[in-house]
Structure formats: structure tokens, C-alpha cells
């Protein structure tokens, strides 16, 4: 299958999944009523269910997945490590820390942009720190450990901040940030984060060519003419913006950024640059489908999207880690 074929197949699957997401829910609507509402007809109630409840939630899952999939693919290319991913490396946790800080200290009221900006700032700090660490430690395993440490540290700081917060909070709020969910999202919730997410994706795509050459290692990549500092800056900035925006929308959802690139890689002959677009689509598709699963669960179960993503993704993470060949460099 060509790259174009892969992308077309994934795009078709994404549209099918979005349509399916509009059909599933506590109020049972038939295909005819959903289609009518999507087209702007049908009853007012149907339009509310489709346009204000089901579609925004599915679109939120899609864009969050796309951001995490593209960030994961780019970080893996930059760090030459199939286990690198915003969740595992602690980038998502740092973004969640940024977001909760503004919420529980009342800064979020300052403007709708404060929340995504804080999440992006947390994510950027984490990606910059990790990239600097990656250049020092060299070993891919050590870097993952640094990420795990960063993730735990940011997670505990988040919990601490919530404990000390002047405003009351609920345990379920905390779970939403740490596990991730797209429940009750409206298009208005997506809007403030959208520019950051779009800019992040655009920057990641602009930097992707250098990732192919990084297959040769840093010395080899510099030899064939890659501007390494520029490539590093683009990935750090792009992954920070995209992941921060994703976390501002849905909290920290892990592992999808590992699973999607891993599945896509054999289809594009393992070229890191070519994994970006299909990884974004596939990760979006996975989260849309996982969220349909979440909504199928009994409503009082309060199952989180991030839990389902981790249930699917964590075993894949372990599998990749366990069968990874020991390589030099």
C-alpha cells in the first residue's frame, strides 16, 4: 500500500468512527434522525444531542489523539526511541500540572486562553528538559526512566497543589486531569486550545524531514546536512504545543502516542518522517473508538477515556520494550 493509500484508508475510517460516535449514546437515535440532525434538520432535541453532545466529544477525542499521535511519532524520531511518547515521558503530566495550577489558583478566570497557555508551558518545559537530558544520557532506557520520574514528580505536584488549593475540588476533578476524559466537551471548550494544537501540528510537520535523516544518528544526520538544532527546536516546540493543547482539552491520556506510530511504521517502511500523518490519524481513530467504548459502559461507572487508552496501550508498551533488540548508539 502506498503512503497515500494508507492515509486515505485511515481518513475513511476516521469519518466512519465519527459517524458511529454520533449514533451511540444514552438516548437512542436512529441513523435517519442522526443524519437529519447532522444536516441541520430533525427536531431541536436531536440537534442538541448530535451537535452539542456527541459530535464535539468525538471531535475532541479525534484532535487530542491526532496531537498525541503526531507528538509521539516526532519524539520517537528525534530521540530514536520507539518508547518515547508524551505520556510516558511525563510531558502530559507536566501539561496537566500547568493546567491545574491555573484552575485551582483562580487564574483560569483571567481568560479562556490561560488554561491552554499554562498546559502548553508545562509541556514545553518538559520537552525541553527531556531533549536536553537525551543529549547527556545517550541511553534510550535511561531517558525513559527520566521521563517516568518526571511524570511521577509532575503528578505528585498536581496532587499537592489540589490538596493545598484555596478552592474546594472534587476527587473526580483530579482524576479527570490525571486519567483524561472528553466527557461533556462542547465546541466552545475546544476553541481556546485549537490554535495551539494547530500550530503544534504544523510545526511538527515542518520539522519531519530531518527525522528521516536522524535514523543515521546525530553525527550521521549532521553529515548529510541536517540542521540539528533547528530540528530539535521544531520537535520540542511542536510536541509541546500539540501535547499541551491536547491536555488542556482532555487531561493526560497516555500510551496512544506509542501504539499508533508502532502500528503505522511497517506500512511506511519505517521512515520516521512518513509516520507522522498516519500516526496522527490512527491515534485520533483509536481515541474516537475508545470513547465510544467509554460511552457504552454503564453511565454511573464513570469510566475514563485515559483508562481505556492505557488498557489498550500499556500492554503494547510492555511488548515493544520487552522485544526491543539491544543496539549500539
Amino acid at each position: 500500500m502506498t503512503d497515500r493509500g494508507v492515509l486515505l484508508a485511515l481518513a475513511a475510517a476516521v469519518f466512519a468512527a465519527l459517524a458511529a460516535a454520533c449514533l451511540v449514546g444514552s438516548t437512542s437515535l436512529g441513523v435517519d434522525r442522526v443524519l437529519a440532525a447532522l444536516a441541520g434538520g430533525g427536531s431541536a432535541g436531536d440537534r442538541v444531542v448530535v451537535w452539542e453532545i456527541r459530535l464535539p466529544r468525538a471531535v475532541a477525542a479525534l484532535v487530542v489523539g491526532a496531537a498525541l499521535g503526531a507528538s509521539g511519532a516526532s519524539l520517537q524520531g528525534l530521540l530514536r526511541n520507539p518508547l518515547a511518547e508524551p505520556g510516558v515521558l511525563g510531558v502530559s503530566a507536566a501539561a496537566a500540572l500547568g493546567a491545574t495550577t491555573v484552575i485551582y489558583y483562580g487564574i483560569a478566570g483571567a481568560g479562556t486562553l490561560a488554561l491552554p497557555m499554562a498546559a502548553v508551558a508545562g509541556a514545553l518545559a518538559a520537552t525541553a528538559l527531556l531533549t536536553a537530558a537525551a543529549r547527556r544520557v545517550g541511553s534510550v532506557v535511561t531517558l525513559i526512566l527520566v521521563g517516568v520520574g518526571l511524570s511521577s514528580f509532575a503528578g505528585s505536584l498536581t496532587a499537592l497543589l489540589m490538596n493545598l488549593a484555596p478552592h474546594p475540588f472534587s476527587l473526580s476533578d483530579m482524576l479527570n486531569w490525571m486519567l483524561g476524559t472528553v466527557a461533556n466537551r462542547s465546541f466552545n471548550d475546544l476553541l481556546p486550545a485549537a490554535p495551539f494544537l494547530a500550530a503544534g501540528l504544523a510545526i511538527l510537520f515542518a520539522g519531519r524531514r530531518g527525522l528521516s535523516a536522524l535514523t543515521l544518528g546525530e553525527e550521521g544526520a549532521a553529515g548529510v546536512g541536517v540542521d540539528l538544532p533547528r530540528t530539535r527546536r521544531l520537535v520540542v516546540l511542536g510536541a509541546g504545543l500539540a501535547t499541551g493543547a491536547a491536555v488542556a482539552i482532555a487531561g493526560a491520556i497516555g500510551f496512544v502516542g506509542i501504539v499508533a506510530p508502532h502500528l503505522v511504521r511497517p506500512l511506511v517502511n519505517h521512515d520516521p518522517a512518513r509516520t507522522l500523518a498516519p500516526s496522527a490519524l490512527l491515534a485520533g481513530l483509536i481515541l474516537v473508538l475508545a470513547d465510544i467504548g467509554v460511552r457504552w459502559a454503564p453511565p454511573d461507572a464513570e469510566l475514563k477515556l485515559g483508562v481505556v487508552a492505557a488498557l489498550l496501550g500499556a500492554p503494547v508498551f510492555i511488548w515493544i520494550a520487552a522485544r526491543r533488540r539491544v543496539t549500539s548508539g
Binding site: 528521516s212 550521521g220 549532521a222 553529515g223 546536512g225 540542521d227 521512515d271 512518513r274
Partner: protein, 257 residues
């Protein structure tokens, strides 16, 4: 005609003088081999030529330009570099890996212009890799992989090739194959500066041997003028017997000097 001039280059890293005034010249059609013990500064000299480390003093000129001041892409179009450590993070197909040699020309593996595709094909043919072109790199033998890296370095069609121990860990037959490839690259009108550890192999293929020790070039000349037991003792601290048999050389190291 390409000309690489290295004059009195000194590099200090972590308060250690790794290069202390090395001078060297490589012209088109020349294959110059850098010989010297571990830590003599051979790799550092290549990196200083590329501008990957900062010089403390001295100059590098590639046809009048300082490579360190060129953009990464412009430099890579004129200077090809095969580093000593050649990790491959992902199992690319041989053809795609070789295509990375065209990066500085704006190409990427899935988007090759006509000229890029032709250059990749020429490199595959020169290195006898057509049969293996669609195989993933992680299924190749050591010798095949080495040829694939050579093809990658050649695909850029730069006028000067810098290769750091291209024959490391190869058996004698494959060492000769790789040196023959570099010899052919030089004979086609390019210059090559190659780091090797085998003096006899170097003498068999090189126009000149540049002998390095303690960050300096201590001797530079054709094999029959510079490859002597005295030189082996001076540069490597070993006792060696050196004999020339027609085109070939025998260098037998018999112990420490």
C-alpha cells in the same frame, strides 16, 4: 577540481589538546589515508574539517570556503561524511537509507527528484547493491551493511569524501571491496580522506599516507616514501617489518618498540 586545505588546525576539548596544529591537503582524484594510534586525533581532524567541533586556531578551506561557515546543507553537498559509529535507529530499506545521502539536495526517501533517484541508483550500482535495494537494513550482513553506508555517502556526489574507519570489523575480502569502492570514487574525479588502522591496506590503495600522532601530522607522503619500520615505531610504538611486493605491501608487527 576540488581542493581541501587544512592548515595548522588546533582543537581543545575539555581542556585537552586533541589537535595541536594539523595541516593537510586533499585534491581531486586523490585518496589520502590518515594513519595513527587510538587517540591521535584522526576522528577529531575529520570533525574539525566538517565544522562539527570548534577550532581554537588554524583554517580549513574547501575550494576557498570555510565549511564551518556554510549552512549544514551546503556543506553536505560538497563534503560527504561517513562517521565511525553508524547506528541505524529504524530498519529502513537499503534504497531509502542510501537516499538519505541526498538529504542536502532537498530529497527525502519517499520524494526523490529525477536527479536524486538517478544518483541513488548510481550509488547502488557502484556498491553492487541493486539486488539488496528493497531489503530492510537490519537483514544485511556486516559487509553488505558497510557497502550500504558507502553507497549512502556516495549518493550525495560530493567532491570530497571523509570516511572514518569504513572497514572497521570487516573481514579482509570486504575490507578490500570497500577500499576499492573509495578508490573508484577518487578515480572518478573526487577527493577522499579516509581513516584506517591497517597500514598495509592503506598503502595498497592510497596515493598518500598522512601519519598522525598526538594531534599533529608527523609525516605525509606516498607509501613508498613514508611507510617504513622507523615510521611504524615513531607513530605506533611498535617493531614492524615492512616489505613491498609489486603493488602490495606486507606490514608485520612483531611487538612493542
Amino acid at each position: 577540481m576540488a581542493e581541501l586545505c587544512v592548515h595548522d588546525v588546533a582543537v581543545t576539548l575539555a581542556q585537552r589538546d586533541v589537535l595541536r596544529g594539523a595541516s593537510l591537503r586533499v585534491m581531486s582524484r586523490e585518496l589520502v589515508v590518515l594513519l595513527g594510534p587510538n587517540g591521535a586525533g584522526k576522528t577529531m581532524l575529520l570533525r574539525a574539517v566538517l565544522g562539527l567541533v570548534n577550532r581554537r586556531r588554524g583554517s580549513v578551506r574547501l575550494d576557498g570556503d570555510d565549511p564551518a561557515l556554510l549552512s549544514a546543507a551546503e556543506r553536505a553537498r560538497r563534503l560527504s561524511y561517513l562517521p565511525q559509529s553508524r547506528p541505524l535507529a529504524w530498519p529502513l530499506r537499503v534504497r531509502d537509507m542510501v537516499a538519505l545521502g541526498r538529504f542536502a539536495h532537498g530529497a527525502s526517501p519517499e520524494r526523490l527528484g529525477n536527479e536524486d533517484a538517478a544518483a541513488v541508483e548510481r550509488a547502488l550500482v557502484a556498491c553492487d547493491l541493486q539486488r539488496l535495494a528493497d531489503r530492510p537494513c537490519d537483514t544485511l550482513s556486516g559487509g553488505e551493511l558497510c557497502r550500504a553506508h558507502m553507497a549512502r555517502a556516495m549518493a550525495g556526489e560530493a567532491s570530497i569524501l571523509l570516511a572514518d574507519e569504513p572497514t572497521e570489523a570487516l573481514d579482509p575480502l570486504h575490507q578490500h571491496q570497500v577500499l576499492s569502492l573509495i578508490r573508484a570514487y577518487a578515480d572518478a574525479g573526487n577527493g577522499a580522506l579516509v581513516v584506517l588502522h591497517e597500514a598495509a591496506l592503506a598503502a595498497r590503495f592510497a596515493d598518500r599516507l598522512a601519519w598522525m600522532r598526538d594531534g599533529r601530522i608527523v609525516a605525509d607522503g606516498p607509501p613508498d616514501q613514508t611507510l617504513t619500520p622507523e615510521r611504524m615505531a615513531e607513530v605506533y610504538d611498535v617493531r614492524a617489518t615492512v616489505r613491498r611486493i609489486a603493488e602490495d605491501w606486507v606490514v608485520a608487527v612483531t611487538g612493542p618498540a
